[in-house]
Symmetry: C2
Subunit: 396 residues, 2 copies
């Protein structure tokens, strides 16, 4: 008998879905099956938190660098627009503002400006929140989906560099400090638009890397992942990558939309979010084990996992089989898809019979090392400890 | 009105399917739809030559480096084994011979030896045969499927390096000069096994790069592409990448199976194949245009395509819009997945109204330049000219 679980959660049941109550995107609380809109995905690959909140099971991202779209997580703040917006993809319109010659362009027009591809880790800002929720003191709460490691994948995006579009429209207007993207969701009736609109600002420094993407992994971008057009901000957490993007504006100030001003901020547990707090933008260095998740027979085993540096390449990964008492460097395997992609690692070793706690610890090219743990914050954002996602197994 | 076609074939109809008569794999000649076994693939992405011979339409490989499995070509020399062989993938057995300690290993056992990934161009040896067939003199024939550019894709494979398996089994036996893989097809009754078995030998120098792969693009390898286990020889043409591999032997001599001895050899048109002729192994440098395939409006356009060097990285790609009279260097775009992968290129330029012949010409890191054309050979193998796949468009 073997046990696969996080080092804190003692059984797989502890990773079972919880309702995501109180969110505009909450579907059937506790639903176990994929919603109809995601029926095209691999039904065995997911933990379903809600209709719009679907986590890839650990070990289901594959070993080939790129996460198959059919196994990639889903997280929406607002329900997606209707299918009709992908019926004629090339007709999709995006307004480009904050440039010398503002203009609305169709996707067909964007395709005639330029083409680039970039591989990025797409990760929900709250991936790993469960490890913070598990560490709270009595009376404390962190709202939000209890993601473990599966709100993340590595994707190749193809589209046009925003910089090429801005250059064609005469360059940035004076004084701009942010790139502000607005999603094309239909906003729920009865709510103030600014309270629900998906509109995010990121620093203007990203202008050199932002992509307006129409393909994911070589296929037309599915509606569920933001098709026909998504604004990709390499290295930045998921919420900054605006789905069905309808406006891209270079702006002097951050948007005052609630999702920017009063959400996705770094603040203490129990405190309110405020625009003065750091925004959830760049992702920190992180890694986790993807196998083995079951103990099986003692003997030679390959310990595998993924590691990424957010804004920086991965420089080193270490693996521990004794819960962090000792560490061994693990070889990176497979092609290197660039600084924003993840790397797989694989360490062949002999595991004697008994209990083992498998953990991984990554270091990025700028020297950032994954900490043992990440102190809980009010939103449960940016967890990057190595302790939380450690895996307990027993070999016989 | 615009016209998209090869520079030789004056209309799209010239690229329509032809029967693949006389081959053991021939399905319904002239069938237009995907066979039931491939119903999971994108029905709009293919030219169906036969039930086991399916070509990706030009421009349907996507722009994201990796070809989606649902759009990847199919070519089988013998009908695939039954679905039952992928019901319990880990139970698949492969015999490893020609080593100090020969042994049969299950896929589950292979997974505990090591893990690596490699991106390779998977390409039928006869990709581009149509351009040779079109250039024949009266009375000459080249048998085989009239592939244009679509018997190729770029795939990430994950599995165990053959070298790690061989090392674990005590290293190569003395005197070995080849790696010989045998496919697990059920052989048709009434034929001599050696006449139909898919068994290929490649030089022992490949021992450092061969992968025994169980994943394609991060997903369990589909039966149609050789699952549960395929022997991948990076840089070598498709036939050398043995599907459902059941034996991998390090051997002193090349196999005398017909597919090695009397097929896939470089010989003159009308001559018989013989073991003394060069085997079809390493792929030459090649590229082709993927867009635009329709003319549309004159003005700014992005000319795109793919380029690969076979055994070498791509060093340079040039694009012509005037059928090869003048050339402009085209930027490579997207992540570099290593020497065996293809690169996308994208050149933004202004196309005035009128007729244009778009061509691309690649140079590999060893200095090999794509020739204008490739002289026909008896098997229609290894076409790599830039003239054949050139695209004629008219802008207005």
């Amino acid at each position: 008998m073997t046990v696969a679980s996080s080092a804190r959660a003692q059984s797989p049941a502890a990773e079972a879905p919880k309702p995501d109550a109180g969110k505009p995107d909450a579907g059937k609380p506790g639903a176990k099956g994929l919603p109809a809109s995601l029926a095209w995905k691999d039904p065995n690959a997911f933990i379903v938190h809600s209709n719009q909140t679907v986590e890839t099971k650990r070990g289901h991202t594959g070993s080939g660098v790129i996460t198959p779209v059919g196994r990639l997580f889903i997280r929406n703040n607002v329900n997606p627009p209707p299918d009709s917006i992908v019926a004629d993809r090339d007709a999709w319109r995006v307004e480009i503002a904050g440039v010398a010659s503002p203009r609305t362009l169709t996707l067909a027009e964007l395709k005639r400006i330029g083409l680039a591809s970039v591989a990025t880790v797409l990760q929900c800002s709250g991936n790993g929140r469960k490890y913070m929720q598990d560490a709270l003191q009595p009376g404390q709460t962190i709202p939000g989906t209890p993601w473990t490691v599966g709100a993340a994948g590595c994707v190749i995006w193809s589209g046009v560099p925003l910089k090429a579009v801005v250059d064609m429209l005469g360059g940035p207007a004076g004084g701009v400090k942010f790139v502000t993207g607005t999603g094309g969701e239909d906003l729920p009736a009865g709510l103030k638009p600014k309270d629900v609109i998906v509109e995010r600002s990121v620093p203007i420094s990203t202008l050199d890397t932002v992509l307006l993407a129409w393909e994911m992994n070589g296929e037309p971008l599915p509606l569920a992942h933001g098709g026909p057009l998504r604004m990709i901000v390499p290295g930045y957490s998921g919420v900054n990558n605006i789905k069905y993007v309808k406006t891209v504006a270079l702006t002097e100030a951050e948007t005052d939309a609630k999702i920017q001003a009063a959400s996705y901020r770094m603040h203490g547990v129990g405190e309110k979010a405020a625009p003065t707090q750091p925004a959830i933008w760049e992702q920190p260095v992180r890694s986790w084990i993807t196998g083995p998740l079951d103990g099986g027979a003692a003997g030679r085993t390959v310990v595998t996992g993924v590691a990424f540096g957010g804004m920086h390449a991965v420089a080193r990964v270490e693996v521990s089989t004794d819960g962090g008492r000792s560490w061994t460097d693990a070889p990176l395997v497979g092609p290197d898809l660039g600084r924003y992609a993840w790397r797989h690692f694989a360490l062949a070793l002999d595991l004697p019979a008994g209990r083992h706690v498998l953990a991984s610890r990554a270091t990025d090219a700028a020297g950032h090392v994954q900490p043992e743990d990440t102190a809980p914050n009010g939103g449960g954002y940016s967890y990057n400890g190595w302790r939380g996602p450690a895996v307990r197994i027993e070999t016989t």
